[in-house]
């Protein structure tokens, strides 16, 4: 290509860019309108509500300043529910990333039926939470649930006891269920990332006599660092705000041991009718999630540059 044409092309393209960047913006307009009406408006409305004593029973709504926030932080149960949220989120995300990574390593081995295995392992991703919750409630029923029965026979559980009626184990059950449902996504992403690692580097390492473990530690893992950060942020946000599963399996019990912030928000709205107070809790949750996103953006900016 001669330099003459190149200059011309550049010129045309520059003009095109300037003149048509507005058209480019136009492609974003549906999303902008959607976000303004259906996300921004609700959020602003929520912020306003969080400074009122709005009630879903009497319909009253008066400005009360930061009363709701003061009440939240002086409530001793809130501390417990906040901690539950941390436990639920941390172990759910850690568990699904580890399991996802482990299974990704497994399916990235060349073997017969590998594709079939991969397909099979993706199934939990599409199983509706409601179906999983129902099965769990049944197999863990203290009287006729098969899992409870096995555990009772093995002496792990007392007679006619259920994991779902014990404070610590109930939380573990919902976390495990969440891991069960969520690992396929990280698995797939890790699998793709592992496939993308330069084969020559791996082979060179093998020739050098590095053990599989060392190769994994020094080549595979560092390559997966960025993927892991992105996945972790995404899943933390998704998990900390995820309501359906806990609501349907334990409803937040026993004795509030699986009540996390989304459940608390629901209960404060429709169990106590204090929508102002509930909005304040959702603000706290929303802000925490926003901090995660900021963290993600700063990381991805660093990665871009």
């Amino acid at each position: 290509m001669s330099s003459d044409i190149r200059v011309k092309k550049k010129h045309v393209v520059n003009g095109y860019r300037k003149k048509h960047s507005m058209i480019g913006l136009a492609f974003s307009i549906p999303v902008i309108i959607f976000l303004l009406v259906f996300v921004l408006y609700p959020v602003v409305y929520n912020i306003w509500l969080s400074f009122t004593n709005a009630s879903l029973m009497t319909g009253t709504s008066e400005f009360v300043g930061i009363d709701n926030y003061v009440r939240i932080f002086s409530n001793k149960l809130f501390k417990k529910y906040f901690w539950n949220t941390c436990v639920w989120t941390f172990w759910s995300v850690l568990g699904q990333l580890l399991l996802g990574l482990g299974l990704a390593l497994l399916i990235s081995r060349p073997m017969r039926g590998g594709t079939a295995l991969r397909s099979f392992l993706l199934i939990p991703y599409v199983v509706p939470a409601v179906a999983l919750a129902l099965v769990t409630k049944w197999i863990m029923n203290s009287d006729y649930g098969i899992v409870s029965y096995w555990m009772q026979q093995a002496g792990v559980l007392d007679g006619r006891q259920s994991l779902l009626a014990l404070q610590g184990p109930a939380m573990w059950v919902v976390i495990l269920l969440n891991i069960w449902r969520s690992y396929p996504f990280p698995m797939l992403i890790y699998w793709a990332a592992i496939k993308g690692i330069d084969r020559e580097v791996m082979e060179a390492a093998a020739v050098d006599g590095a053990s599989k473990w060392r190769t994994f530690l020094h080549i595979t893992l560092p390559e997966l660092k960025n993927t892991t950060i992105v996945l972790a942020v995404l899943r933390v946000i998704w998990t900390a705000t995820y309501y359906d599963l806990i609501y349907m399996v334990t409803g937040g019990g026993p004795a509030g041991s699986t009540t996390h912030l989304p459940i608390l928000i629901y209960q404060s709205s429709f169990g106590s009718f204090q929508i102002g107070y509930a909005s304040a809790i959702s603000m706290i949750l929303g802000v925490l999630m926003f901090i995660c996103i900021i963290f993600y953006v700063s990381k991805s900016d660093a990665a871009d540059s």
Binding site: G59, D143, G159, S162, A165, G252, A255, G271, F273
Partner: protein, 450 residues
């Protein structure tokens, strides 16, 4: 390949979209036709009715009666089910946006909520039209607001008793216990590895509060003062703590460990289907359960009232359903009135009470005879007579409505603090006193906010 798949998918969605548009067009046409003729008759009017009854047998009877009336009156009726665990979600979203249904068939808690949200109208005129004397007094009292007007049209009532296995009591030579101490002793005596003595269900949604309240009532501890209607749960701390301690001892000594999270279905199954518990508190639904799923068990079940502390029971936990209606104007007002009045024939009232797979009994006195003649009930004549007697002659209350309609009642039913506190008391997280404080503080905060 991708293209092929994509086009198949697009075609599928197009068909779906067309189908959806088609059906919505039909609906639009219907309502247009409907609006033409309003004068004179109710032709074309539409009533939206909600019910909490999600069990098919009950829903079907209601739906059938509504459809009959809709036909007779030439109106359109649309019935929507609202399950218990989402009742307050639905009511509060509806109330805050003014989308309350025209008529709702609901329990006392739902009525109390709609009354507090000022979404329903007084029913005195309709009650007088049907016949004020045809309804039991106690029932009218509970539905009376602070302005002296009655906000619900009583449909049927329920009474909490201890349902038990007669055969197990006979085998163990146990008499019907008359005091708390005897009751605990009886529960412990029949408690074995496989069959527990007395199930204490404590699911966080409504069940924990109901279990506690029956025991509270028997000891004369209430949330609201039956005389003054003021909040009084804070006045009787010592008694209330004893009630919780007693509940915990029943749980620890005679209830299956897993009952901490049992809901209605679980304890009913345990008594009447799997036979894994000897006693439980219930409103009689166990009979329907047994008849459906384990007919052999039906004859083995009997009932007696939960005893008072030292013999005399102060009151029982009674419950029931009623019709409420949102305020209407003009012709729609008379429509709602006519519609509701027509539901109160002896046959219809009895049929509704009998549709409940539990011993609901009609609150409409002219239907009593029909109700008792039914096969389902005649089999349990002794129990029904006993319950009728207890209901007519003992005190019975619905939590928070000891002195008439109160928003506190809806709150008690919707808050999850009872689950938190009582499950915690039973598994040792809280002492009975801490559990009491949690409940009391929560209810006080609500009372203060009203």
């Amino acid at each position: 390949m991708i293209k092929k798949w994509l086009s198949v998918m697009l075609a599928m969605i197009l068909v779906l979209l067309l189908a959806a548009c088609g059906s919505s067009k039909d609906e639009a046409a219907d309502t247009e036709n409907g609006r033409e003729d309003v004068s004179g008759s109710y032709e074309g009017e539409k009533l939206i009715i909600w019910t909490n009854l999600t069990a098919d047998a009950q829903y079907d009877v209601l739906n059938k009666q509504f459809a009959e009336l809709a036909d007779e009156m030439g109106v359109e009726v649309s019935v929507e089910k609202v399950a218990f665990n989402e009742m307050y979600e639905k009511l509060s979203t509806a109330a805050t946006s003014g989308e309350v249904p025209d008529i709702m068939h609901t329990n006392f808690g739902g009525t109390a909520y709609l009354y507090a949200a000022k979404s329903i109208m007084p029913m005195d005129d309709i009650i007088n039209r049907i016949g004020a004397d045809d309804f039991s007094e106690a029932y009218k009292t509970v539905l009376t607001g602070s302005d002296g007007q009655i906000y619900g049209l009583p449909d049927w009532a329920m009474h909490t008793s201890v349902w038990y296995r007669k055969d197990i009591f006979e085998d163990n030579e146990i008499e019907i216990p008359g005091t708390w101490e005897d009751f605990l002793a009886a529960a412990e005596k029949v408690n074995t590895k496989d069959v527990s003595g007395f199930a204490v269900p404590l699911d966080g949604v409504q069940v924990a509060a109901q279990t506690l309240y029956e025991i509270m009532c028997s000891a004369g501890v209430y949330f609201m003062d039956p005389e003054t209607g003021e909040y009084c749960f804070d006045q009787k701390k010592d008694e209330a703590v004893k009630v919780i301690e007693y509940l915990v001892s029943l749980y620890k000594n005679a209830s299956p460990a897993g009952s901490l999270t049992w809901s209605w279905g679980d304890y009913r199954n345990a008594l009447s289907v799997t036979g894994t518990c000897a006693m439980t508190l219930d409103m009689g639904a166990v009979i329907g359960n047994a008849q459906e799923n384990n007919p052999d068990m039906t004859g083995k079940l009997g009932c007696f009232d939960f005893p008072g502390v030292d013999g005399k029971k102060e009151a029982s936990f009674g419950s029931g359903y009623c019709f409420v209606a949102s305020p209407q104007e003009g012709v729609r007002n008379t429509l709602v009135s006519d519609f509701l009045t027509a539901l109160y024939t002896p046959e219809r009232a009895a049929e509704r009470a009998l549709s409940r797979p539990m011993f609901a009994f009609p609150s409409y006195i002219p239907s009593f005879d029909l109700y008792r003649e039914s096969d389902k009930v005649a089999e349990f004549k002794e129990e029904v007579d006993y319950i009728f007697d207890q209901f007519e002659n003992g005190n019975w209350y619905w939590y928070g409505m000891e002195a008439g309609l109160s928003s506190m009642s809806a709150y008690i039913e919707s808050t999850t603090i009872f689950g938190e506190a009582l499950q915690g008391a039973c598994d040792g997280t809280y002492s009975a006193e801490e559990a009491y404080d949690l409940i009391n503080e929560d209810l006080m905060a609500f009372a203060a906010s009203m």
